[in-house]
């Protein structure tokens, strides 16, 4: 419904703008409408609708695909906040289906089994925005070049181990700090070396940050994990398996929301971390063979 003849629908500003509104917030993985309502009531800024959380995808093995549209529609109908859903890397038809369903953001996600081992989706072709994972600045800028309107760290989904999210956030933010110290004549070589579009390298240097919103994802399980990522310098957090694989999802969800707002206030962080019950059972990432690491998917 475009109400006004002179408007320009779905420009990059409009796509990236929704991510701006999600900043300082928590996006939660949910697998049922009931979980979506729990997430909304706990103060989630958006939910990620999927059939299995990453911890279960990891445990079940096999091919992980886009979720059933029927289930995504039920989740859309159950909440007033934005609903995101995942498409496989390179699977632009899954993304077309998600767009047709009215999903607010597509996560082109390494958590699902990649559909293309060389190419990601050309995201400029779509009217809805995309979020993509990254491990370093080059990967982030390649995704933005393809049209991603929001970036997140890959972390290592479904482990409850925050170490990879920390590594990826520190790598991206550290790359940007080094870029800012570079004279302009070095930017072309740098762009070549990290495999990133030159114009975006230059823009990132000028802005001193990524040109789009940058969230943390992959292994965040506690309020302290969320606040750690915020203090390191991301704009908000995704929590996947960490909430609904824990002993008390509603309380943990609320505590992570509070910790993300008050990330710089250790007194509040101490209060919200009390008596949350069992966190999700974690997997130490260093014990995972490389073939089982989801973060290595994406090119």
């Amino acid at each position: 419904m475009k109400e006004n003849g002179q408007n320009q629908p779905n420009s990059f500003k409009v796509k990236a703008g929704l991510a701006q509104m999600l900043k300082g917030g928590v996006i939660m993985d949910v697998v049922t409408p009931e979980q979506a309502v729990i997430a909304e009531n706990a103060g989630a800024v958006a939910v990620m609708a999927l059939e299995r959380v990453p911890a279960d995808i990891r445990a079940d093995g096999g091919v992980a695909r886009m979720s059933d549209p029927g289930m995504i529609k039920e989740i859309i109908a159950s909440v007033s906040i934005p609903v995101m859903a995942k498409a496989r890397i390179g699977h632009f038809v899954e993304a077309q289906i998600l767009e047709a369903l009215g999903v607010d953001y597509v996560d082109e996600s390494e958590v699902l089994t990649p559909a293309d081992e060389e190419h990601h989706i050309y995201k400029h072709d779509f009217n809805i925005p995309f979020v993509c994972g990254c491990r370093n600045l080059g990967e982030a800028l390649r995704r933005i070049g393809e049209g991603a309107a929001m970036i997140r760290t890959k972390g290592e989904a479904g482990t409850g181990d925050v170490v990879e999210a920390v590594r990826h956030a520190r790598t991206v933010l550290g790359d940007i700090r080094r870029l800012q110290a570079m004279p302009d004549e070095e930017l072309m070589s740098y762009a070549k070396n990290i495999g990133a579009p030159f114009a975006l390298v230059k823009e990132t240097k000028e802005l001193g940050r990524l040109p789009v919103v940058n969230f943390a994802a992959g292994g965040i399980a506690t309020p302290a994990d969320a606040a750690l990522m915020m203090q390191i310098g991301v704009d908000g957090v995704f929590v996947g398996s960490g909430i609904f694989k824990s002993g008390n999802p509603a309380e943990r969800a609320l505590a992570i929301v509070k910790a993300t707002t008050h990330y710089n206030n250790p007194k509040i962080l101490a209060e919200v971390s009390e008596n949350l019950g069992e966190p999700m059972v974690g997997i130490n990432v260093s014990s995972l063979p490389e073939s089982e690491q989801l973060a290595t998917r994406g090119w």
């Binding site: 419904m1 475009k2 109400e3 006004n4 003849g5 002179q6 408007n7 320009q8 629908p9 779905n10 420009s11 500003k13 409009v14 703008g17 929704l18 701006q20 509104m21 999600l22 900043k23 300082g24 917030g25 909304e40 009531n41 706990a42 103060g43 989630a44 800024v45 958006a46 007033s80 906040i81 934005p82 767009e99 009215g102 607010d104 953001y105 009217n127 809805i128 925005p129 929301v257 509070k258 993300t260 707002t261 008050h262 206030n265």
Partner: protein
């Protein structure tokens, strides 16, 4: 001038940058004590349900209402929802402005858009249209009593209003390079 920006969640940094660009001091407000000594407050875009819940949990509702009685307050998008008396849904609201607001009134993200608006309060000498960004935006269904509509879409939908020292916009001036709304808001201080 010292302006607070409610920083519970949402696009508060963009407002802070705009305010600082105009020479004002901007302060992030997360707890009631952060309101002390402020001359005005902006409630940014974000998710109104999240902002409302966090405001309730950290005892901000009454202090915010009291602050608004004495100072200019401007709500953008979620901030407009939060300031309304009626949004037709059960969620925490400051409920100070005599406006009826409908959430997500244009549809989902795929229906978000940019357009140019004529803003009645900018008419004198600066009549160029304002670039407005609407993101899962609310609309003003009704402005009652002292509340006056100051901008409409071409089809007549009301998208900005003023009631004394209070200002609301469905859209996001903080995402544009145009600082006229921020200037106008600063102009309300001390009136």
């Amino acid at each position: 001038m010292k302006i607070g920006v409610l920083a519970l969640q949402g696009a508060f940094i963009e407002h802070i940058k705009m305010l600082e660009g105009l020479g004002a001091t901007a302060v992030e407000v997360r707890l009631p004590e952060h309101l002390e000594g402020l001359d005005g407050l902006i409630i940014p875009g974000g998710e109104s349900t999240t902002i409302g819940k966090l405001a309730v949990m950290y005892d901000l509702m009454e202090p915010l209402r009291q602050f608004a009685m004495e100072h200019p307050v401007w709500g953008t998008c979620a901030g407009m929802i939060f300031m309304a008396k009626d949004v037709g849904a059960d969620q925490p609201l400051l409920g100070i402005m005599d406006i009826v607001v409908e959430r997500n009134a244009f549809g989902r993200q795929i229906d978000s858009f940019e357009t140019n608006l004529d803003v009645s309060v900018f008419k004198n000498g600066q009549g160029k249209p304002f670039p407005a960004v609407f993101i899962r935006a609310p609309k003003l269904v009704d402005a009652k009593g002292e509340a006056t509509v100051i901008a409409r879409l071409a089809d007549g939908t009301a998208v900005a209003a003023q009631q004394g020292q209070w200002l609301v916009t469905s859209f996001h001036p903080e995402l544009t390079g145009d600082d006229r709304f921020h200037r106008y808001f600063l102009g309300l201080i001390g009136k």
